[in-house]
């Protein structure tokens, strides 16, 4: 244990770093770059979780940190890269709105999550309080990535960053049981998604500006 002030500052910095990396996702327009940012996101999460494990003296959280580091920062990004290559997916990402507008929306979402979470967690301990508010920002930014991207791989990236935010919240809630189990369950979910993309060769999300394709995929034949 170092001084409580420093503990708090480092936990805060790492959680803030996660929000920052989420913002970096919003302006990537190349798929490979987006996957690299995802790996960075997972590394920051691993550091943050490991720091929580250290200051709260909760060794089981190191498992969650290790899962984040090995599975999410290495295995999944490598698998996604190979998939982009093998399936010949467009390397450029189509966004629904412009980058500027998306960034503004992201800032609004972070403001919203602070506005919602800080007052209601007034009685919780300060580390958990900041962590939960920042975690909600990461969750909402992850949703924003999913909504504004048209391609399956970048949707998975958005979902994974959303899930990282939830992991941050779960580890921030001091002494929460089943955190490790839940992070394993989520890893299985993500593995399923990635395998699903690969097996079914989902290149794009199914909405497109091509009206004939739209008719076929509405299911109302």
């Amino acid at each position: 244990m170092i001084s409580p002030g420093l503990d708090f500052d480092i936990a805060h910095m790492l959680a803030g770093g996660l929000v920052l990396v989420s913002f970096m996702m919003l302006y990537q327009d190349r798929l490979y770059a987006l996957i690299n940012v995802l790996a960075l996101h997972a590394v920051v999460l691993a550091l943050s979780v490991a720091w929580q494990a250290y200051i709260h003296d909760a060794p089981h959280l190191y498992i969650t940190a290790a899962i984040a580091l090995v599975f999410k920062a290495i295995i999944i990004p490598v698998a996604l890269r190979r998939m982009v290559f093998r399936l010949g997916i467009h390397r450029e990402i189509e966004t629904v709105f412009g980058i500027g507008l998306t960034m503004l929306a992201g800032i609004a979402l972070v403001g919203l999550s602070m506005e919602v979470m800080l007052p209601v967690t007034a009685h919780a301990d300060p580390v958990a309080r900041e962590d939960i508010a920042l975690a909600l920002s990461v969750v909402l930014l992850g949703l924003l990535v999913m909504v504004t991207r048209r391609n399956a791989v970048s949707q998975v990236v958005g979902f994974m960053s959303l899930e990282n935010g939830i992991n941050l919240a779960a580890t921030g809630a001091q002494g929460m049981p089943l955190v490790v189990e839940i992070s394993i369950a989520f890893s299985i979910l993500i593995a399923f998604i990635v395998i699903g993309i690969f097996l079914f060769r989902i290149r794009e999300r199914f909405d497109t500006v091509d009206l004939s394709a739209l008719d076929a995929s509405r299911g109302e034949r």
Partner: protein
Amino acid sequence: MNELAILLVPLLAAAILAIVPAYRLSARINVIACLVAFLAAASLLWQRPETGQYLLIDDLNVVFIVLTNFVAFTTSAFSASYIGHELETGRLTPAYLRFYHAMYQVMLFGMNLALIANNIGLMWVAVELATLSTVVMVGIYRTHEAIEAAWKYFILGSVGIALALFGTILVYLAARPVVGEGMDAMVWTELLRHASGFDPSLLNVAFIFLLLGYGTKVGLAPLHAWLPDAHAEGPTPISAVLSGLLLNVALYALLRFKMLLAANPGAIAPGPLMIVLGLLSLIFAGFMLYRRRDIKRLFAYSSIEHMGIIVFAFGMAGPIGNFAGLLQMTMHSLTKSAIFFSVGHVAQVKGTQRIAEMGGLTESHPVLGWGLIGGVAAIAGLPPFGVFQSEFLIVSSTFARAPLLAVLLVFGLLIAFGALMLRLSSVAFGPPLGPVGPVKASYVPMFAHLALVLVAGFYLPAPVVAWFQHVAALLG
């Protein structure tokens, strides 16, 4: 013992079914495993285990468990007669069929675990498991549409489930100062006992996330986008269990958290939120019913409509509202799965799901046709059936308490009624359209469900009424 049986039997059966190659044998094993699970579930009515940190049987979830295992059993019997045809027409290969049967049991395990869990974390994992197993079954035909439906279900379901987890974490945060750190703060019975001491504002935010998260899985508008596709593109037995069971499981999770809020004096009343979402789903789905051209999609929207009615009833709460909600839920599960049993065979014999290409069923296949008419009449809320009773209860109790809401409710019900009758008349009557070949079907599951719904319309046994009243009082 019996509480473990409803978990272990499906798990064991899944392992066996994964290695049995012959499809007739595995279909039979599937039915037998479901029957054993149902008997074990029914025995819970008399013999109840001690409440532990992980498992809980109380008056509320035992209703859901018995209903779930019953419908899973009848659906497995329907599936046995349905799935052979899929193999003959080449829509499924034997390997996929093996996978299908194993997944069916995994799904039953997931649903039973979610219902029996006394731990909000375990419940969440179980709902996720049940969702995953249905996702792979929705995509099992591997057509472009099926994969699209599975993908959509997957992504929306995952987002929903992620939001639900965030809500679960917030509940833990609210409970920690009162219950203490560690496992106890996630144990349902402990949470309920201490709920009055929780920080109300944190609980409120948690409920919003849980409502959005589990509400996605209930299929409430505007979070329903996955539901029609998943129902239309998967095998019909899966449509039956999705509508009849999985939506209920998600609803059960919501009801649990609603009880938590009701036990806290400072928290917002969850009722109005549920009423708004319920009415929105009812009216929206009512209008959407008119434009459906695919028969399974039609009944999928009807499920959204009914989930809307049920959530509305639970939102109105009070002894009558909750009673009617429980009754409506039970009746809807039985009726909707019966409809899908009949629709499954109709779609097989006609070789299409397009409503425009089927017609005159009462002439070409009288048993199927009249079964379908019975089911649709029941689901539309026509008098001799049980759905009429529960809808009548909901409408009349709402008129007494909030006339304006009742007007909206009746409006939605009438819209949906009109749409269902319109579609039914073109499918059931008139000159036969499409292939009129014989159908190999077992009618027992369909008519068993319809008979139950019909009997419930005339007569509800006094113990059942007392039971439901007791549960309704628990729900507050």
